[in-house]
Symmetry: C2
C-alpha cells in the first residue's frame, strides 16, 4: 500500500506550529523521505516514523526550508547506529555542504552514505516494487519534483482453473508474467483464462516548489495523488508569480488538467494561521482536494 505522511506543510519560516517541508512516502514497510526541513528528525520522533526503515532521501532543491534538517538527521542516524545503506539524491552542491559539516565534526558514520547528484530529469530508483523519477519544476533555483510509481504486481493465478487445465507448477512463474500455456497436444490455453490481472500500481507525485507550469502535466498525468504547493491564496497571485510559487487555484488547475484522482496542498505562507481559504479556493476548481496536515498519513 502506497501512502504519504506529512511531517511539515509550511513554507520558509516556521509558524503556528507548522514546520518546513518534509514527508515520508511509504510502500510495503519501506520509507522514502522527501525533503528534510529543519526539525524533521524531531517531527519523526513525534509522529513515530520508523527511522531505521529509511533508505532513500530525496531533496528537491537547496532552499533551506527543504534541507536544513538533513545534516542533523544523518548525524543522528550515526549516533543511533543506523546500519542500512543510505542514498541521498539532490542537486549540487548538497554533497559538499553535508560532507563539510560531517568532516568538521569528525563524524564517523556506521553505515554507507551515497550521494547521487541530480542534474537532469529521469529515473532515480527502480526495484521490484517501486520506481522513482525526478522532473524539473519552475522555481527560483534548480528544483525537482519526484514521481513515485508502484510497480504493477504479477498476475494472480486462479488455482482451480490452472489445476483443471493440467498446467504444471513449473510454469506458474510464467503464467504470472502473462505467458500463454501450450499443452503437449498443441492446445494453447490463453493466459487470461487461468489468471487474474493485478490492479495497476498506484502513483504519487510530489511537485516541490514551483510556479504554475503546464509542462508539469506530463509528470502528474493521471496520478492517483499529487502534492502541489499553494504558498499563497489567489489574491496574492502576483506575489506568487514573482516568487516562483503557486496559488490554491493554480495548484487545483494543474490537478484538474492532469486528471489526477486526488490533490494534497501544502507549503503554506507563514502569514496565514487559518488554512480554510486555501482549501475553499482549491476545491472550487478541483473538488477532491485536501489540506496536507502534519502527522496525517494519506493513502494513495
Amino acid at each position: 500500500m502506497l501512502s504519504v505522511t506529512i511531517l511539515g506543510n509550511n513554507s520558509a519560516v516556521p509558524a503556528f506550529d507548522r514546520h518546513p517541508t518534509s514527508q515520508v512516502v511509504t510502500l510495503d514497510g519501506n520509507n522514502y523521505l522527501v525533503d528534510c526541513g529543519e526539525g524533521t528528525q524531531i517531527q519523526m520522533i513525534k509522529y513515530k516514523i520508523r527511522r531505521g526503515k529509511i533508505s532513500h532521501i530525496f531533496i528537491s532543491h537547496l532552499h533551506g526550508d527543504h534541507y536544513f534538517g538533513l545534516v542533523g538527521l544523518i548525524t543522528s542516524f550515526g549516533l543511533l547506529s543506523h546500519q542500512q545503506d543510505l542514498h541521498v539524491f539532490g542537486p549540487s552542491p548538497l554533497q559538499e555542504i553535508i560532507e563539510l559539516q560531517l568532516k568538521v565534526a569528525k563524524t564517523v558514520l556506521p553505515f554507507n552514505l551515497y550521494f547521487h547528484t541530480i542534474n537532469q530529469e529521469g529515473l532515480l530508483v527502480e526495484d521490484s516494487k517501486i520506481e522513482v523519477r525526478c522532473f524539473k519544476t519552475n522555481h527560483r533555483i534548480e528544483c525537482y519534483g519526484f514521481a513515485f510509481r508502484e510497480k504493477k504486481k504479477p498476475r494472480k493465478i486462479d488455482l482451480e482453473k490452472v489445476i483443471a487445465a493440467g498446467i504444471p507448477q513449473s510454469f506458474y512463474k510464467k503464467l504470472e508474467d502473462g505467458t500463454d500455456y501450450t499443452t503437449k497436444e498443441d492446445v494453447v490455453i490463453k493466459n487470461e483464462m487461468v489468471t487474474i490481472e493485478a490492479p495497476k500500481g498506484k502513483s504519487y507525485v510530489f511537485c516541490a516548489d514551483t510556479k504554475y507550469d503546464e509542462s508539469l502535466l506530463t509528470h502528474v498525468n493521471e496520478a492517483d495523488m499529487i502534492y502541489h504547493e499553494t504558498t499563497y491564496p489567489d489574491h496574492l497571485k502576483d506575489r506568487a508569480i514573482e516568487r516562483f510559487h503557486s496559488t490554491s487555484s493554480q495548484a487545483a488547475l494543474l490537478a484538474k488538467k492532469g486528471r489526477v484522482k486526488k490533490l494534497l496542498i501544502g507549503h503554506f505562507s507563514s502569514k496565514y494561521h487559518d488554512l480554510t481559504e486555501f482549501e475553499t479556493e482549491a476545491r472550487s476548481v478541483f473538488e477532491n482536494t485536501e489540506v496536507a496536515l502534519e502527522g496525517v498519513t494519506y493513502q494513495v
Copy 2:
C-alpha cells in the same frame, strides 16, 4: 538584570521532547544567543523569545547539536526583515559553512552579518553594560565556553548630601566614576561620603561541552551562576572521560571548587528520560544545583 533562558538541554540526539543546546542570555532587554542546535528558531517561537533583540550569537564548537539551527535562524531573520547588525562568533570553518549555504540559496540578507572567528581565549564583546569572554574547554574538537559579566554600574549619588556639600551638577558624572571633589577652599570631599557604591555586576559562565578540567576554575571563579554539562550520571564516568564529557558529580565539583553561587546542569544523554539521578548526584556535592529546564528563565 542578567538572566538565562534555556531553549535546549539535551545532548546530541533529540529525545523526550528535549532539544539540542541553545540558550538566551538577557541583560536589560538585549538577547545574546549561546549555541543554536537544530530547531532553535522553533523553540524561540514556542517560548516567545524576542528574536529582533538578538544582536550576538556565540557558537561553542562545531558538533551539530550546537549549531545546526544557525543557518535556518539567519535565513529566517532575513525573511522576517531583521534590521539590526548580527555578530556571530564561533570556531573555523563556521563562516564557510554558513556562507556556502546562504550563497547556494541566493539569499540576500537585509541586515549586516559579521562573522568573528574564535581561535584563542579572550575578550569578544565589550560595551557599557556587558563584557563577554571566551575560554577553551576540554572537548573532542576545538571548543569554547563563554563568560558573561555585567559591568559594574556607576556609583549612585546621594543627592541630599551632594547639595549640602555644595557640589555643582557639572561634577556629578565624575562623582559617579568615584572621583573625590575638591572645593574652592581646597577641602577634599571624599567620594564615598556623598555616593553609594553600586552592587557588583553579576556574572554567568557557560562551560560548553567539556570533560572535567580544573583549568576551567580560573574562568568560573566565584561566578554568580554557571552552566556545566552533565551528559552522564556518575556510574558512566569512564564513558564520560572517553567521550570528553562530564558526569553530574564532576560538574558539581567544579562549581564547588570554583566557589560559584549557583549551578545549572544540562546536556543530558538521550538515554535518560528521568533527570532525578543527575540532580541528586550533583546536589550531593554542590547543593545549590538546578536541572536546566527548557522554557525556564533563571535569574543570575
